[in-house]
């Protein structure tokens, strides 16, 4: 009888997780409409290639819920910030005489990494992070930021795109961890 109860409990728990995953995928799909529309308007149809990854990021965020989802909404702001980063900043050697002469632009993943990290650091310092939930919030922010920044990457080369997203995530995680540690020290 006890074994039956345990089996029933586990089945109900699995039903909850599967149901939640299904609901999360549906909600994430609805979110794709405005995000995809924005990406298409700003960067063209090429940006839509990245939408499956955006869908996956938001499905995970909705599925985990709570702090992860809160973090994802905040991370969306960081992802949005990458939309306003000018190409002259991400690829500074691609200006002036080089372009006028018709030469192909160079790629500068390092600049993208730095720009992404700067945006991530600034955003994470503005976000209230509690001691217990910071890994979840930071993870959520990383998901939310990546979900939008990936669309920006469609206008970049692969190395630059990786640099931008990687820098953003590293900045967010580093600043969130630092804030949580500082708070722990302050309350200890």
């Amino acid at each position: 009888m006890e074994a039956d109860t345990s089996i029933h409990y586990e089945r109900a728990r699995r039903a909850y997780e599967w149901g939640r995953l299904e609901t999360s995928a549906r909600r994430a799909a609805m979110l794709l409409v405005p995000i995809g529309g924005l990406g298409w308007l700003l960067w063209g149809a090429g940006a839509l290639v990245w939408l499956p990854l955006t869908l996956a990021a938001w499905t995970i965020a909705y599925w985990r819920g709570e702090a992860v989802l809160r973090g994802a909404w905040l991370g969306l702001l960081a992802g949005g910030a990458t939309f306003v980063l000018p190409m002259s900043l991400l690829r500074p050697c691609c200006v002036g005489r080089v372009v006028e002469a018709g030469a192909s632009c160079c790629t500068m993943p390092g600049m993208c990494l730095g720009a992404g990290a700067a945006v991530g650091l600034v955003l994470a310092t503005l976000v209230p992070v509690s001691r217990t939930s910071w890994p979840k919030v930071a993870g959520g922010m990383a998901l939310g930021a990546a979900s939008l920044a990936m669309l920006r990457c469609s206008s970049l080369f692969a190395g630059e795109a990786l640099g931008l997203v990687g820098g953003l995530l590293a900045g967010l995680c580093a600043a969130s961890a630092a804030k949580a540690l500082l708070r722990r020290d302050a309350t200890a």
């Binding site: 029933h8 109900a12 039903a15 909850y16």
Partner: protein, 174 residues
């Protein structure tokens, strides 16, 4: 566990809907006996455990769609009642009813289930606007029918049912 108050159940379900898995155990412990009791009261001992379990699977599969702030019990009982109706249909389709299918509605467990159902209906009606709640109450004979034309009353009742269905998560007949 089952003695949790309605407000506690609402809070636990809201937490689970938001993804707080720590609310699951307490909620399962509170809802499982309720589902079993209602299933026993309506179907008898043989079918009750399976039907209660099937209903619980549906409740938890849809827990993420629960709207925090709404009462949990009316929504929960709507799912369980729907599962019981389905089980009855299946039984009728496969065999003739037997004497042992008859459930004594005067036993303690049935009365407790009936009281909880009544309470769940009250909670659902409380969530409606005054006009809709009055229309349903008049239909149930609890208050005098409002002095409006029959067609107007039918429209009010229809709107009230629509709102109730929405409140109960569209489980009626699904």
């Amino acid at each position: 566990m089952e003695t949790l108050r309605e407000a506690d159940l609402d809070a636990l379900m809201a937490r689970l809907a938001n993804g707080d898995r720590t609310a699951f155990e307490a909620l399962y412990g509170a809802l499982q006996p309720r589902a079993l009791r209602l299933a026993r009261a309506r179907l008898g001992e043989d079918l009750a455990p399976d039907v209660a379990q099937a209903a619980l699977l549906k409740v938890f599969a849809r827990a993420s769609e629960f709207v925090p702030g709404r009462p949990c019990l009316p929504w929960f009982y709507a799912v369980v009642a729907n599962e019981i109706r389905g089980a009855r249909r299946r039984v009728r389709a496969t065999r003739e009813p037997k004497d042992e299918d008859w459930v004594d509605v005067n036993d303690g467990e049935s009365q407790l289930a009936a009281r909880e159902l009544e309470r769940a209906l009250e909670l659902a009606l409380d969530s409606l606007d005054e006009t809709s709640a009055n229309a349903v109450a008049a239909m149930l004979g609890r208050v005098p029918r409002p002095t409006v034309r029959a067609e107007t009353f039918r429209k009010r009742l229809s709107r009230a049912y629509g709102k109730l269905r929405l409140l109960l998560g569209e489980h009626d007949g699904s």
